[in-house]
Point group: C2
Chain length 332, copies 2
């Protein structure tokens, strides 16, 4: 087992590749048991950790599902009382089982919210105004040989339906208001704090929106929340943006809708079988494809480091976690 740090520091399981700065800050404070560095199979790694003289009470787990914190994981290390996701999503963590075992869970809180909201707006402008596609047109020498690039579609005045008005969705709304968009939303229940029009279901939202933005967590309730019927309700001038999780959309139906012109375009930072994308989309200029980078900035990486260490220090000093996630975590 690969571990570093002074023998006096509490052990922490690490299931994420971290950069040198993050690694150094962790190792100053904790005895890091690094799964990816260990080269061991998961169950062997967990068994060794559990059998150590001081079994670990906390784990840091990358978002996105490379390692799943499910019942068998938790069973293998019964000493665990704290699981921190370094992503906003916790769909890779069995929250019910954590709650049953008294394991506290936290996520990245608001560390990524502004970057993801910015990126969602960037994807939307790109799809409507064809920034990436027009750029490829220039780079292949087509301009002006093949004429002006076709007209795009104006952002101002668009009715934007946001699915999930949480930390990210509400920031997207605030940004798009500045562009003159009309904001609609769907969430578990109406929010008193906003005057946007609430839709109790996504089909109704799609029917009265020009753009759908998926900004909800992935749960059983939100898997394929954008399905064939929703895409049909959105219609042939409609655009879908996804900065949530790939499985929030029925991707096979999305590809069909794009191929058949049943919607106008899409901007996708996430994919259902990630990192597998859909090669059929590669030839479509009305689709912006992005390699799950909506959270990726130098600044958010640094913020995440401070936030994760803050959550760990809170846990080990018996304080409440900075960004706790509860078992009823659902679409916001």
């Amino acid at each position: 087992m690969s571990s570093t740090g002074g023998s006096g520091e509490p052990p922490v399981l690490l299931f994420r590749k971290v950069d040198a700065a993050f690694s150094a800050e962790l190792r100053e404070r904790f005895r890091v048991l690094d799964f990816f560095a260990s080269g061991e199979p998961l169950q062997a790694f967990l068994a060794a950790a559990a059998a150590a003289p001081e079994p670990p009470r906390a784990a840091v787990v990358v978002g996105g599902g490379a390692v799943r914190v499910d019942a068998s994981f938790l069973y293998a290390v019964p000493s665990l009382l704290c699981v921190l996701s370094t992503g906003a999503g916790v769909d890779h963590i069995d929250l019910a089982e954590c709650a049953r075992r008294g394991v506290a869970v936290a996520n990245s809180g608001e560390v990524y919210s502004t970057d993801v909201a910015d990126y969602a707006v960037g994807l939307l402008i790109d799809v409507l105004r064809q920034v990436s596609a027009a750029g490829r047109y220039v780079r292949r020498g087509a301009w002006p040989v093949q004429g002006d690039y076709p007209l795009g579609s104006k952002l101002g005045g668009k009715r934007v339906g946001i699915i999930g008005l949480g930390n990210i969705g509400s920031r997207i709304a605030k940004r798009l208001e500045a562009f003159g968009c009309v904001i609609h939303y769907n969430s578990r229940k109406p929010k008193d704090s906003v005057s946007y029009k609430f839709f109790p279901n996504v089909h109704g939202l799609a029917a009265e929106s020009d753009v759908l933005i998926v900004a909800c967590a992935l749960t059983k309730a939100t898997q394929h929340i954008v399905n064939k019927n929703v895409l049909e309700a959105l219609g042939k001038y409609g655009v879908v943006i996804n900065i949530g999780r790939g499985a929030n959309i029925d991707e096979a139906e999305l590809v069909v809708a794009l191929k058949e012109g049943k919607i106008a375009g899409a901007g996708l930072d996430v994919f259902e079988q990630e990192p597998k994308t859909q090669a059929e989309l590669f030839s479509m200029d009305n689709v912006v494809l992005s390699p799950h980078v909506a959270v990726f900035t130098e600044e958010s990486r640094s913020d995440l480091r401070a936030h994760t260490i803050g959550n760990l220090e809170a846990f080990f000093s018996g304080q409440p976690l900075v960004s706790p996630v509860h078992a009823d975590f659902l679409v916001q």
Copy 2:
């Protein structure tokens, strides 16, 4: 000479390709003398128009300089009293000569302002967050084979220096405020209506900005307003966005600065020798290249049609033009 329309309607010179809807609306109201449809050389076309029994008093001219309304143009058609640019820029129109001859000039007013502002923000998000470049990475199958795409740079907190706080620049500022940017600006004089920090010169603005956005008109005073010294003041983490005119930037120096890493990136919708671009930029992933489409939406095209006809009808009925441009039109 190609002309249509009833003999009772006033003749209008047209120096722009227009779509069917625009053409139909013009021809309902005016006798259109269409330069591009005529196939004639410019001077012959102008001479024939001037020699007609009812010489034209108004001309509609495309922005961007394909046709220059200079002294020889105006001399050739002394009947002209109104020149309408269908672009926001009027750098292709000799305003001093127009004023001397009593020729009223109008531009596209605010028709394009929101679309251009939206596009500027889109370019900025794209450069900072690498949307286009990451998209190309996905489309060539590099993800995840070659690993995650590198981290971008956060938009929030960036100090954005806007050159020209007119119809477009002020809309860019409003949008970027919603992203948490700090707005600085340079213009002829400070604006009482805003609390942004004013810089009397662009070098000072660049030195205290992370991003420079060119949103001014092209005039003698603003040609190469972003030069080698300004780029050096902006520095190696700086980004330049240009949705003004190509010649607002010393493009040769910009290419050098990008090649040598003296600035971090650029988003360019306009080029100095347009439509000639700079092929050296095609291989740079930190540059977003765009084929002068910041004004290109279905909606703005329709708005332009109504706006141009509004200006023509105002002129022919002796009313003030909707969006007059005066001879002292300079950086805003």
